[in-house]
Each structure stands twice: as C-alpha cells, then as structure tokens.
Amino acid sequence: MKKVLKYVITIALILVILFFVQKLFMPKYVSDVTEGRLIAEYYEEEMDHDILFVGDCEVYENFVPAMLWTDYGYNSYIRGSAQQLIWQSYYLLEDALRYEKPDVVIFNVLSMKYNEPQKEAYNRMSIEGMRWSKSKVDNIYASMTSKEHFIEYVFPLLRYHSRWSELEEEDIEHIFDTDVRFHNGYYMRVDAKPAKDVPGGEILGNYQFGDNSYKYLDMMTKLCKENDIELILIKAPSLYPYWYPEWEEQMEEYAKKNDLRYINFLELQDECNLNWDEDTYDAGLHLNYYGGQKVTKYLGDYIKNEIGLKSRRGDEKLEKIWNEKLELFNSDLENKLRELEGE
C-alpha cells in the first residue's frame, strides 16, 4: 500500500511539473503575433451567437461584430485565424456547433485556393487554441504538413522545447493568461497605408480549385443544412491575394448549384464606399477599422433585409454582456487612436 502511494505521488508530481514546463514553453502570443490567441478566446464567450464567421484574416480583420450589435442587434463572433485553411474552418465550425447553434454562418472563400496543408506555424495558430474534441483530432490530421506529428499537438512541449533559449519574462508572467484581447474575434487596426499599385494576379497553370477544398466546402454546406443554418459564402474586399475571375466563376456556380448566398465584396467596393487610401492599414490586404465599418454595414443591411434576422437588442443578458464588451472596445479604440497620434 505504502509502495503504491509512493509511486502515485511520484507520478502526480512529475505530471504537474511537466504540465508547468509545457505551459511555460508554449508561445504566449502576447506582445507579438497576437493573432495566435484568437482561437482559444472563443471558449471564454457566452455561447449564444446569432452569426458565426469562419475563415482567414479576411474575416477577422474586415468585419466588426461590435457594430453588428450596436447597429443591428446581432450577437456575432469571428472564429478566424491566420491563413485558416478550409478544413480548419470546417472543423472550427463543427467544434462551435457542439456549444451553440447560430442562425447564420459566414465563410470567406479565399481559402478554397489551398488544397493541401500549408505552413506549420499557421496550423498551430488555427488548431492549438481548440479544446480537445473529435473535431480537433480530425482537424490535426487534415492539417499536418509532412514533418508534423500528431503527438506534438497532444504534447506541445515536444514542439516548442526548442524555445528554451528564447524564453522571456513574458512567458512566466502570462503562463496561465486567458485574458480576452480581441473583440469577438475582431482584430482592430486604426492606422492606414494606402493601396497603390496593387499587383495583378500571376498567370496560373490551373484555376480549378482542388478536390480537397471542394470536399470540405461540401461538408460545410451539408453541416449547415443539417443544422438549419444559413450559410453565406463571401469574398472579402481585400485586393490581394488576387482573386481570379476563374475562381469567381467557380464560386458563383457552386453557390447557385447548392442554393447558397454568395457575396463578393470585391464587386461591391463602390457600394460600400471603400476608399483604398484610407480604409486599409497594409496597402490593400486588410481593412482597418474604418474600412471594416463600411463593409460591416453592408453585411448588416444584407442580413437584415435579405435574411430578416431579428435584432436581439433588449435581451437583458446580452445587453449586459455587450455593455461590458463595448466599454472595452471603445477604450481599446481610444488607446489605438491616441497611440497613432502620438507617433
């Protein structure tokens, strides 16, 4: 008996130490590449959203959930992450459906262009924040590049151990940090860098989206149909990466065939009143807050008029949650504006 106890204590102690070490070595995404925190933040939410966005940076930098609440009364959340691949979007959606059932899901179709796993670093940012579920496991298997191993997702220490020589104070300070830093998945920027001489697309050998991409788009369509969710495909207005007419054609056709709504914001730049001198912070790749407001307005109007989603203003619980959120949002906005002036 005593012997058993001895071993139990030893193993428990070792596991605790390993847990701490692992936490210590994981990137904190606090002062740098903050987008790494996006996926995990979702679980801190009260999960009762009307609209859920999935997709890459073209969603989390272009749409402003705070505005969808204030102006339309829609409670929305963006499950976006950097270079989120289509199967990652699918599995993030699948994962979210375990907790809630939104009325509308919006997916940005740019990631159709990637038929295979791309970069390990982006995989990590899109997957690591997920809670463990079958969706996460499937997501990992769908996303791994040839040099990755499943076990390195289970024990991220095996992946990040090489950070031993780069550990900083930040890693200790924020070791258990779960603070929310984004606004319902929105990444806010207020600075501007005009879009000039945006390069056109290079000629591609093949414009056909891959089978794998279509497979997951089909799965997403099916998942939404089964759950009675309105799936809206969008193409954000970002000028770059270039969106080819051949791609546009395929998406339009797909939407038609599957009876989906498809909004290409690239064609709606004038209607949205986008000004590429002021509304982007990186010369046309992503919108800043000003551009985001314009696009969000179009989307909000569209959902209100075309889908008829009801406003939830007046819902006490939501109002309370959003009052807090808006306070944070506004102070963040003020800080950013002040910072910009200070420069």
Partner: protein
C-alpha cells in the same frame, strides 16, 4: 524508423507490453515478428535481402553439421577396418568438402553485400581509370537500394557460419530461431555485431519481467537519447556548417571541427548502441558491449580494443587470424624469416594481414576512398606505435612514467588527437581536400577565432555551447563513475527521491535540450548507412 523517432518509441512501448503479456514460450516469436515488421516498415524490399542471406546461411550451416555428424558416424562404424592413414585421409577429404560448402555460404552472403555496396564504387573507379587513359567511355551507375544495416547482419550471419564450420558451435536447427538471430531489431541498424554463442544464450529464453533489469534498460535508453539528441546532434549542426564551407573555415576551424566531429561521432554511435543494448535489456536479452570508454585509451591499439569492440574482434577472429595462419602465409613467413632475418621476417605476415584487415575495415565503413585512406591511416599509426613500443617502454622505465598520472593524461589526449586527425578523412569525405584542410591547421594561424566569437557563426548559439559544455561534463563524470562499477548499479542503491530526480532530470534535459522536432530536424544516426 529512426531510433530517435516517435514511431520507434511507440513501437518499443507496444512491443514491451506485448512481450510480457503473452505466454513466455511465444516471446521469441514475438521478437522475430517485431524484427521483421521493423525491417519491413523501413522499406518492404529490405526483407527480401535479409531473408535470402538468412536462408542460405541457415541451410549451409545445417549441411555442415550434417556432414560433421556423418563423418563421426562413419569413423565410428569403420573404426576397426580403417588404418590411421586412411582415417586421416578421410578426415581431410571431409574437411575440404565442408570448407567448400562454407565457401558457398560466404560467397552468397558476402556476394550480396559486395554487389549492393560496392558496385557503384567499382564503376566509379573503372571510369576513373578509363578517363586516365584518355577514354571518353564511361559506365553508368546502377540504382541499388542499400538495405539498412546490411553490413551488420551479413557479418553476424557469416561469423555464425564460420563458427559452425570450425565446430565451435552447433548449427541452429530451427529456421525461425536462426532468422531471429540475424534480424534481432535493436542491433539491426548499427550493430553491435553479436556472436551466436553470446546472443543465443538469452535470445530464445523465456523471460520473466525483472523490474531491476527493465529499469536498467530504460535508463540506458534514456542515456542514449541524451548523448544522441542533446550532444551529438547539437554538435552536428556546427560540424556540418564547418564542412560544407571548407573555403571559409580553415585553420583553427578545422581543428575545432575535428574535435567536434570526434566527440559527435562518439556520442552518436555510442548513444545509438546504448539504445540498442537498453532495448535488448528491457527484453531480457544481453547484447555484447561495443565500447569501453574509448577516449580514455593510452594508445591507438588500446583505442581500437575499446571502440566498436565487436567489429574489431570480428575482424580479428574471422579475417586477421585466418589470413595470418593460412598455408600460403605460413610459407611467406618461413621464407621471409630465412631471407630477411628474424626481426623483419616475423613481421611480414602480421603486416600483410593487418594491411588487409585495415583496408577491409576502411571499405566496410563506406565504399569510397576516404574511408580506405582512413583505415590505412590507422594501420600505419598502429604499426608505427607497435614498432616503437620497446622504445617507449625503455623511455617510460627510465623516467618512471608507467604510473605517472600527468603522463597518462598526456597519453590519453595524444590518442584522442591522433584518432581525431584520422577521422577528418570521413569528415570531409574527400581525400585531397582532407589533406589540404589538415594542412591549413598549421599554416592559417587564425587561432584567435576560437576566442573572438567567430564560432558563434556556425549555427550554434552561446546557449548551445553552454549546453554542450554541461553535456560533456556530465559525460565525463559518468565515465569517471563507471571506472568503479556500473553507474546504474550505483543509482540503484541511492534513495528513491534522489533516483527519481536523476531519471526525471535526465528525461527533462532530453525533452527540452534535445535537437528534434520542427524546431530542429533530427539527423540520421551516422552509422546507419554502414
């Protein structure tokens, strides 16, 4: 499947559990299945090679045993009818016939090895000769897959065959048991080259779980991982940087690279062997030790008795002695003693067979000239030191250096340096370049780069050097503890909390400071290809 891969760890974990879970009489069958799966996973076609060698050697060994039994039976039956001379003649005839059978086995086993490993080397040499004679004709290289560990299992099988021929062991009648002897997976990748009489003692036995031995095995595996991942692979980053840009890294860099390579090779190779022996030990199988702290040797000869021991003794038993005492060599011996005088004469056979051994050792390591030159370099150094031995002896006696500590230290360092120098041949893998680079150590005069931070440009950060330094200290301390008795026995006796701290500390060091994963790309064991 590399030893340092998640797959391997998973593989042995499953194997260990199964091994002690199934009925004990099936344990060796599990090992055989595991070994073939291991080999199959590396590349399915490998199985065909190892199976062929196994089958041929198995059959020939059986035949040899049969013939020996026949001879005995015949002599017994005709005991009274035959004269002594007739008996002798019969024996001689039988011996010759057995010899021919063994030769057949050798030809097949070595033939496969030779064709696979040396065809392209031969072609490239023929091409070299052709072009030297102004011919523009060239032979094209053939595309051959070199099966993992082919040299090791071939040598093991051939050692067995020769032993059966000599009558020192009886042939294994069970084909599957013999197949396990040839293919036992822990030593398939990089040796050691086990002898049948050693390995068979524990290989087929029924093993009860022995927690002490199992712990020892795991400790050994962990220690191997430490040497390989924390030290060797870290050094390899630097070594590769230095070798790949030979134009930039001359002089002092060659010196640093030389020492780094020596230590890297040591940690890589012995680390791999530690994992091999550890895994085998967890399975209750005793595999012969392959190293005995070689870097503490006082001379090259001693070094070779302590480094890659099983290979050295294989060459001694199956090549060196047979050549030295074969008929023609005895004639040469007699002739040279008569014509060249006793002193030189008695050296001739040894020199000749040593030459053959070291040439073979070189070419066994790799089918290229740099390895051959490296092997012959060892030959020259060993012969010279052997010749000077009486002189040394007198010198030592005169100054009472035999048990003088500082002098022993000097001898050890001298040996390490000498070995490291020779190793530069398989570092640069190009004979003329090696000579050139070696020369720059004495001409470049840039030894200040060792201290002025230039070494931080070879892919290693200051933090890496600190880890290397600590790693080498640990290595040295362990070697010191080893002098007394097995370090694991010493750990076994200390208190439980301290024990756990040592294990867990080592484990954490491997996990954190090991060079593996996406952050780094683990390199293959150097000895894998040999």
């Amino acid at each position: 499947m590399l030893f340092t891969s998640y797959e391997f760890i998973g593989f042995i974990t499953v194997l260990f559990i199964l091994f002690y879970a199934i009925p004990k009489r099936f344990q060796w069958i599990l090992l055989l299945a595991g070994s073939y799966i291991f080999y199959y996973l590396a590349r399915p076609v490998y199985v065909a090679y190892i199976f062929t060698t196994t089958l041929v050697v198995y059959l020939v060994a059986l035949k040899l045993d049969q013939k020996r039994a026949f001879q005995e039976a015949y002599l017994k039956e005709h005991k009274d009818e035959l004269t002594k001379e007739e008996k002798k003649a019969f024996k001689a005839k039988e011996k010759k016939s057995r010899f021919h059978w063994m030769l057949l086995g050798l030809l097949v086993g070595l033939g496969i090895l030779a064709v696979i490993k040396y065809t392209n080397f031969t072609i490239s040499n023929i091409n070299g000769i052709l072009s030297a004679f102004g011919s523009s004709a060239t032979l094209s290289f053939v595309d051959i897959v070199v099966p993992m560990g082919i040299s090791f299992y071939t040598f093991q099988a051939i050692g067995y065959l020769i032993d059966v021929h000599r009558g020192t062991i009886k042939a294994q009648r069970n084909f599957f048991k013999f197949a396990l002897f040839v293919s036992f997976f822990p030593q398939l990748v990089q040796g050691p080259i086990s002898r049948y009489q050693d390995l068979s003692e524990t290989l087929y036995k029924e093993h009860k779980f022995d927690s002490k031995m199992f712990t020892f095995g795991l400790e050994r595996i962990l220690w191997g991982f430490f040497k390989k991942l924390v030290i060797a692979d870290r050094m390899l980053i630097g070594v590769n940087a230095l070798i790949k840009d030979a134009d930039t890294y001359k002089g002092a860099y060659v010196f640093v690279g030389m020492l780094f390579y020596a230590l890297e090779l040591y940690c890589d190779f012995t680390g791999g062997i530690d994992i091999t022996i550890g895994v085998a030990q967890c399975l209750g199988v005793n595999v012969t030790e392959n190293f005995m702290r070689p870097f503490f040797s006082k001379n090259i000869k001693e070094y070779w008795n302590r480094w890659h021991i099983t290979m050295g003794s294989w060459f001694t038993d199956y090549i060196f002695y047979p050549i030295t005492v074969c008929g023609p060599m005895l004639k040469i011996s007699k002739w040279s003693r008569n014509h060249l005088g006793e002193t030189i004469g008695k050296r001739v056979p040894i020199y000749l067979s040593s030459f053959v051994v070291w040439f073979t050792t070189g070419i066994w390591h790799g089918a290229s000239w740099n390895f051959i030159v490296w092997g012959l370099g060892n030959f020259v150094v060993i012969m010279i030191s052997q010749e000077f031995e009486p002189l040394y002896h007198r010198f030592h006696n005169k100054f009472h250096l035999e048990n003088n500590r500082p002098y022993q230290g000097f001898q050890v360092i001298r040996t390490v340096l000498l070995m490291s120098c020779l190793r530069t041949f398989d570092c640069y893998r190009d004979v003329p370049l090696t000579f050139k680079m070696f020369g720059t150590m004495f001409t470049e005069g840039n030894y200040n780069v060792i201290f002025d931070g230039s070494l931080l440009n070879i892919g290693l950060k200051i933090s890496d050097f600190i880890i290397l330094f600590i790693g080498v200290i640990i290595l040295f301390m362990v070697s010191m503890f080893q002098r007394k008795e097995s370090v694991r026995e010493q750990i076994y006796r200390i208190s439980y909390p301290l024990k756990v701290c040592i294990w867990f500390g080592l484990f954490l060091m491997v996990i954190i400071f090991g060079i593996y994963g996406i952050g780094y790309d683990a390199t293959q064991f150097i000895y894998n290809q040999f």
